[in-house]
């Protein structure tokens, strides 16, 4: 069964996502990914519903959500920019790119601009280590970035071109 986005109450939609993965072994991670795809985040109000459906304690569910860097407890900005800060990208100027982005968007890593347009995140390795500095913008990998190229790509993403 597939989940129809945006239908029903929040709890119903959470249960619908749980149902998709109910037969999976160790279903919690697939469920959490499903919830984040459906809602854009995993809110604290969803935790009791997940816990009840999987017969886990709320603490267990919260423990798993908070362990993994990917799961967010509030919605991200429209454009998510993930800058790689692992060694290979550092060797070709990743830190400069990070400093630039922090300044341009006026947010720290892990934060969203006040107008909700851009979320800036750090990531450790995107597997593009020979073509760094690398970044992922709305899920799409980019390589050999410099300040100008990053600005252009984010603007294009903002405009919906990418």
């Amino acid at each position: 069964m597939t989940v129809v986005p945006g239908e029903g109450s929040s709890a119903e939609r959470v249960r619908a996502v749980v149902d998709v993965h109910r037969g999976d072994r160790g279903a919690l991670l697939p469920i959490l990914h499903g919830l984040q795809a459906e809602f854009g985040y995993i809110g604290p109000e969803m935790v009791p519903v997940i816990a009840e459906e999987l017969n886990l304690s709320k603490a267990e569910v919260h423990g798993v959500i908070s362990f993994y860097a990917d799961f967010r407890d509030k919605p991200a900005g429209r454009t998510v920019v993930r800058l790689c800060r692992a060694e290979a990208c550092q060797s070709v100027g990743a830190e400069r790119l990070v400093a630039h982005a922090r300044q341009v968007y006026g947010v720290e890593l892990g934060e969203t601009t006040r107008d909700g347009t851009v979320t800036l995140e750090q990531v450790f390795c995107l597997g593009n280590c020979a073509l760094g500095p690398a970044a992922q913008i709305n899920g799409r990998l980019h390589g050999r970035l410099d300040e100008n190229r990053l600005d252009t790509l984010v603007m294009e993403a903002e405009a919906g071109d990418r």
Partner: protein
């Protein structure tokens, strides 16, 4: 006559414009007899986007290509002009020095075939290994793998055959094969390239492993940072089911094997095998104490064969060509081929598969062409964030397990990250500890607390606060982390720290180091 043009769909190639080049080819080729095939990447990443044109002599390469250079390329195809007229003409791809010097086993189809074409796979030797394995008894397949000398490619280099035999000999109602595709080490991307470029090879390797060990279910745990690999692998698994390569009665042999892709969620520690198993079970990715080893009590407490992508992807070639042929490659206890990945500040970076034994210096300078910045090489980190830093004058080490151990370094997953002379090694040492603090699962104290204390101690050293005492303290701390940590995360983090201290002591002398905090890493 139809001309076939190949453009990679590998995410690294796409990260520098392969899609735009492919779109330009489609646009410009309208009305011509041209067929466009998207392949994986050959791994010559400095040439991406690398376009290849099929000719009677072989595939001719052009790169790096931009969309603006496409019309000229298509013009060279007809009108009596020669391909050599194009500015980006490289010659026959297979004869380029980078390609000709390799012995490609794992990566032999990557960059050659359409990753999702089952027919392409068969036409290029696919399933030969599985067919041969299915004619053999499980024990005979295990013997073949043992005889090949194959060692785990994830980093630890454990002999694969011993794991296989343990899983085969352990009785249970259900057994699992798990592929660790949580390739989190900076400087490594070969797993990703294989999954995106030849996913059937991994599927075949896992199916052979299932037959050999008696497993009926398999999981590929792919990191979420690799969305393209996840997509390709899932599509390939669908194709494999449709072809009868997976599911009940694989290739009519009676073998039943189901394969699933699971996606990580941004935790480096889940590349540690027991942590990965906890994550697969839907839990926090906490490291387990060993014993019990996963081969006896792994996923959900069942016997589980856990291998890295490249280990499993080596298996079809071993079964196809035989253990002896594989064993004949390499040196001493490092048999077969290793996939090296040249990364960081490197002029010609990419994937290079060769029998063990070439020196690090040769690979970096002859094939890699030195740094991308053109400045002198100062340091090289081999084996990911937990690997040691080597100085520029210490690179004459043969690339095999034994030589690296002798040099107090490790080969790990074959990632080689090059730094030029602008690198600040105190900062890299600090980063290693900071990374450990960020990614530690928190189960054992040396890793959880030691990493944080280590960052603080390095800060004191470079700020000139009682540097001698703090250097002694840092050494002590590293010794404790090495001896007292539960897994490689805490146990090996001292590698980059101590090697930076050993080879680059001048970087740790007290100085104005406020920049460490200002530009530093803590958000």
């Amino acid at each position: 006559m139809t001309t076939t043009i190949f453009v990679p769909c590998d995410s690294a190639a796409r990260s520098v414009g392969a899609d735009e080049v492919a779109a330009a080819i489609v646009r410009e080729a309208a009305g011509r007899d041209v067929r466009l095939v998207r392949t994986g990447s050959r791994g010559m990443l400095w040439l991406e986007p690398l376009v290849e044109v099929e000719t009677p002599e072989g595939r001719v390469g052009f790169g790096p290509m931009s969309p603006a250079e496409v019309p000229e390329l298509l013009a060279c195809l007809g009108d009596g002009r020669s391909l050599g007229d194009h500015e980006r003409h490289l010659g026959l791809v297979e004869e380029l020095p980078w390609m000709a010097a390799q012995q490609r086993l794992c990566m032999r189809r990557v960059g050659v075939t359409d990753p999702l074409s089952a027919d392409d796979y068969l036409a290029h030797g696919g399933l030969e290994g599985l067919r041969r394995a299915l004619e053999m008894s499980p024990a005979a397949v295990v013997d073949e793998v043992t005889g090949s000398g194959l060692r785990g490619r994830g980093g630890a280099g454990f002999p694969a055959g011993i794991k296989w035999k343990t899983v085969l000999d352990t009785r249970a109602d259900v057994k699992f094969v798990c592929c660790n595709a949580d390739e989190g080490d900076s400087g490594t991307f070969a797993d990703r390239m294989l999954m995106e470029g030849d996913p059937f090879c991994l599927i075949e390797g896992m199916t052979i492993a299932a037959h050999a060990t008696g497993a009926t279910e398999g999981y590929v745990y792919v990191r979420s940072e690799y969305p393209d690999a996840v997509r390709t692998l899932r599509q390939a698994i669908e194709v494999a089911y449709a072809r009868g390569w997976l599911g009940e009665d694989v290739l009519g042999s009676g073998l039943s094997f189901d394969l699933f892709v699971r996606v990580g969620a941004g935790a480096y520690i889940c590349g540690e095998e027991t942590s990965m198993l906890d994550s697969l079970e839907g839990k926090r990715g906490m490291v387990r104490a060993k014993p019990p080893i996963p081969a006896i009590s792994g996923l959900f407490g069942k016997p589980t064969l856990v291998h890295n992508v490249l280990t499993l992807a080596s298996v079809p070639a071993i079964l196809d060509g035989g253990a002896a042929a594989y064993q004949a490659l390499g040196s001493k206890d490092s048999r077969g081929t290793q996939v090296f990945q040249l990364a960081g500040n490197i002029a010609r970076g990419g994937v290079f598969e060769t029998a063990f034994g070439m020196t690090l210096h040769e690979l970096i300078h002859e094939f890699g062409g030195g740094t991308r910045s053109g400045r002198p090489v100062r340091a090289v980190q081999v084996g990911g964030p937990l690997g040691a830093y080597l100085p520029a004058d210490g690179l004459d080490i043969p690339l095999d397990y034994e030589s690296f151990t002798a040099a107090k370094a490790m080969l790990g997953h074959g990632g080689i990250v090059v730094f030029d002379d602008t690198v600040d090694m105190a900062r890299m040492a600090r980063f290693a500890l900071e990374f450990c603090a960020e990614e530690s699962c928190g189960k054992c104290t040396p890793c959880r607390v030691g990493s944080v204390r280590g960052v603080e101690t390095i800060d004191k050293i470079v700020e000139g606060r009682d540097p001698d005492a703090n250097l002694a303290l840092l050494s002590d701390l590293c010794e404790l982390m090495t001896d007292g940590s539960l897994c490689a995360m805490g146990g090996l983090t001292p590698n980059p720290v101590l090697s930076a201290l050993r080879h680059f002591p001048d970087d740790f002398t007290p100085r104005r180091f406020t920049s460490l905090h200002e530009e530093g890493t803590t958000p």
